[in-house]
């Protein structure tokens, strides 16, 4: 196979993943509205298409056609770059996620670390957006968001170390294969709890949605954004939910690996697990109230941080003694 065909295959893979992910992300918004609506005994979007199925497309069209306002006192270059800076890392991460046994864009030996590294860049977009808007609400939202994401990134990373020690590799496929004997969620329950909470905070989801708290900050760092730029933030948020969910099921639920005895293809298993995970995310949004800022930081540093450290220590000890 020469370089040209290799490049072509890679290109096709990338195109497929990008398109599918964009579509799925768009429909996630629809899903969220529908689920929350049903939880709250409402119908949700019903007008556009059957049960409102075309609603995301209509929304996208609306945002696309809307006037793109750039505040006159803002720092224009940074203002424009910010949404791109948020969206790009969210999509780049998909390049190393394993969707099934054979379907992935690439495998790298620092896979998980790369995911962490790239997803840590999302905070730049948020900070840039908040600062460039030249608005108090935006700046406050951005500062909150930056502090929150920086803090919880640490717990997220530390929570992943436990499974990593068991898997002995950073390569995502290797991690999945290491779970053939049993999902890590059973051997690493502490890590999973911390990971899940940190994931909620990383994606600014309820109950940690302080940076965009509509009721306090007029939706935080993207107050001044409109049109397509606003859509970018929106898309990035849901793309990040998918990334985090994928990382979660890869590390704790065996990724595309199925339950033995049920003959389904790996990709189907993957989609099933992903859907469950995302459903839990949405479910939580409909259920939980928002944390206060100081509570958020306290939970993080005083509860979760010691917990992950204990987890790492115990894992190391058990691995050293028994494995």
């Amino acid at each position: 196979m020469n370089i040209a065909t290799e490049a072509l295959i890679a290109f096709i893979k990338i195109a497929v993943v990008l398109l599918v992910v964009s579509l799925v992300v768009a429909y996630l918004t629809y899903l969220e509205r529908k689920i929350i609506a049903h939880i709250q005994m409402r119908m949700g979007p019903m007008r556009v298409g059957w049960h409102g199925l075309l609603q995301p497309i209509a929304d996208g069209l609306k945002l696309f056609l809307k006037e793109d306002i750039i505040p006159s006192k803002s720092d224009k270059v940074v203002f424009v770059l910010a949404p791109i800076m948020v969206l790009v890392p969210a999509f780049v991460v998909y390049s190393v996620l394993p969707f099934s046994e054979n379907f992935y864009i690439t495998q790298v030996n620092i896979g998980l670390f790369l995911i962490l590294a790239i997803s840590s860049l999302g905070v730049f977009g948020v900070v840039m957006a908040g600062w460039a808007s030249n608005s108090k609400y935006s700046l406050l939202g951005a500062l909150r968001s930056a502090a929150q994401m920086l803090s919880y990134e640490i717990f997220l990373g530390f929570a992943l170390i436990g499974p990593l020690m068991l898997a002995g590799s950073l390569n995502m496929q290797k991690i999945v294969e290491a779970q053939s004997g049993g999902w890590f969620v059973f051997s690493q329950p502490l890590a999973f709890i911390v990971f899940f909470i940190a994931a909620l905070a990383e994606t600014n989801r309820v109950p940690f949605d302080l940076p965009e708290a509509e009721t306090e900050l007029v939706s935080g760092f993207h107050t001044e954004y409109s049109g397509m730029k606003f859509a970018f933030f929106f898309l990035a948020e849901y793309a990040n939910i998918m990334v985090v969910s994928t990382v979660g099921i890869t590390l704790f639920f065996g990724g595309w690996m199925g339950i033995p005895g049920i003959p389904l293809p790996g990709f189907v298993w993957f989609v099933l697990k992903l859907a469950t995970m995302i459903f839990v995310f949405i479910w939580l949004r409909a259920t939980l109230p928002r944390y206060r800022y100081d509570q958020l930081m306290r939970v993080g540093w005083k509860f979760m941080f010691p917990l992950v450290l204990i987890n790492i220590f115990l894992t190391g000890l058990i691995k050293y003694l028994f494995l």
Binding site: N109, V123, F124, V127, A147, L150, N171
Partner: protein, 169 residues
């Protein structure tokens, strides 16, 4: 195959760095530095240091530079943009820097390097250099590693003490 990428990344680094030191807006300078760090991470991958590339992005860009942005936002940037930007000694400084550049160039011209050694693993393959790096870091360099961790702790405490609001005054 690697060389064109090297030139691309190097050009990116140098250009962003040059822009960085000439900006009057601190935020722009910081963002340019972040950009230069991305190029640098690419360069590290080329040199077979992919773990370090990820560290560069995660810690340097995602951690340290965010810290910078964070702090800059706490200060008054607008005032700083308007005042005189350059130090009085700038002409002398640039002269020294250029002479030094010339000297380093001549020193480099004198250097003779033996042939490059080959990594014992394939570039980009698993297990790759992460495992090797880990084992070196936690065996041969475990003492410096611990010292650095103490240093980080000291810096953390120092930073908190320095930046804390003084209650008594």
């Amino acid at each position: 195959m690697e060389l064109p990428f090297f030139y691309l990344f190097s050009a990116g680094i140098v250009i962003t760095s040059l822009f960085m030191i000439t900006r009057s807006n601190v935020i722009h300078a910081a963002l340019l530095l972040v950009l230069s760090f991305f190029f640098l991470a690419g360069l590290f991958v080329l040199a077979g240091a992919e773990f370090l590339a990820a560290v560069q992005v995660l810690i340097y860009s995602g951690g340290i530079m965010v810290l910078y942005l964070f702090s800059i936002m706490l200060m008054n940037v607008q005032v700083a943009v308007r005042i005189r930007q350059w130090h009085r000694q700038r002409f002398f400084a640039i002269l020294i820097v250029l002479i030094l550049g010339f000297e380093i160039w001549s020193v480099l011209g004198k250097g003779v390097f033996p042939a490059m050694k080959v990594w014992p693993w394939k570039l980009g393959a698993t297990p790759g250099n992460v495992e090797a790096l880990g084992s070196v870091l936690y065996t041969k360099f475990v003492f410096p590693f611990e010292v650095v961790s103490i240093l980080l702790l000291a810096a953390m405490i120092g930073a908190i003490v320095l930046a804390k609001k003084r209650i008594d005054s």
